[in-house]
Symmetry: C2
Subunit: 143 residues, 2 copies
DNA sequence: ACAAAAATGCAACTTCGTTGCAAGAATTTT
DNA sequence: AAAATTCTTGCAACGAAGTTGCATTTTTGT
């Protein structure tokens, strides 16, 4: 199955009409290993789409569980592809996010589960977000 | 030592001139257990200061290590008092942050140390940020 | 109290994100 | 395959959030 087919399949599975902007933006995520910021998408899509369209597309993708957001220290929202288990409204993003200080990339460490956190008495945890800052594999080996 | 003296001491220790806005904003943090957003500060300070002054004061406090920022899922920056060990440029904020879904408060769990996260080979961790979402002590007991 | 240094407030500006609405594309129906 | 319907897009306008330059005021050190 080529990428065009894969894109159509993902969109149709989520009851979304197949449009140029959605296809292109989804393609960017499939090609990219790491996370993308809104600004990245506007640039990489060749500024062919309106700002508003990009906003709305990302919002739709988040709602449908195709991508998820990652909070960052510098207060920019990052978006990354979800694993297949994610459905509308139910994100299974209990994985660790890694931000490389060198290349700036943010990647999802899907296989690293979030460690247990012992809370003081009375506190009830419902969701734990872990963001690790450091140097990624590529930057460490290739310098 | 009363609070006014304490405020002056903190400012002077950080080589900052003692001004009305800095004193007032620092007072807000000392009175508050949890974290504050920029908007909270503008409101609580009685809108007596210019927006710009609040921005610059918070920025200065972060630089001096008096407060630190907390990334949140909804992409708003929160600020909270640092422990004494923090100095300019060197934040020792390796503690867990807790966001209550009910009251919206964010507090620093200073005594809860960040758990170890096992990373894939090649990855080097330098800082780990843990934000726990759930229901806080007060909201659980008082409903 | 005075001079030097620093902080504040104002205005203007940029960036980021949202909303309403008309025009355009995609989907469904016949 | 074309028409009708539904959904998406782009535009314009708007609002919130944050930044910068500069004149004025406040703080500090002597």
């Amino acid at each position: 199955m080529n990428m065009t087919q894969q894109i159509q399949q993902v969109l149709k599975r989520n009851l979304l009409s197949v449009t140029e902007s959605r296809s292109k933006i989804l393609e960017l995520f499939l090609q990219q290993n790491g996370a993308l910021a809104h600004a990245d998408i506007e640039k990489k899509s060749g500024s062919s789409f309106d700002r508003v369209t990009v906003y709305r597309t990302l919002q739709t993708f988040v709602e449908k569980g195709i991508i998820h957001t990652i909070p960052t220290a510098d207060n920019s929202i990052l978006y990354a592809l979800c694993k297949d288990e994610c459905t509308a409204g139910r994100h299974h993003d209990h994985h660790v996010h890694f931000v490389c200080q060198q290349c700036g990339n943010t990647i999802c460490l899907d296989d690293i589960t979030v460690p247990d956190v012992r809370l003081p008495g009375g506190y009830q945890a419902r969701h734990v977000e872990v963001v690790v800052n450091g140097v990624c594999k590529d930057c460490r080996t290739s310098h």
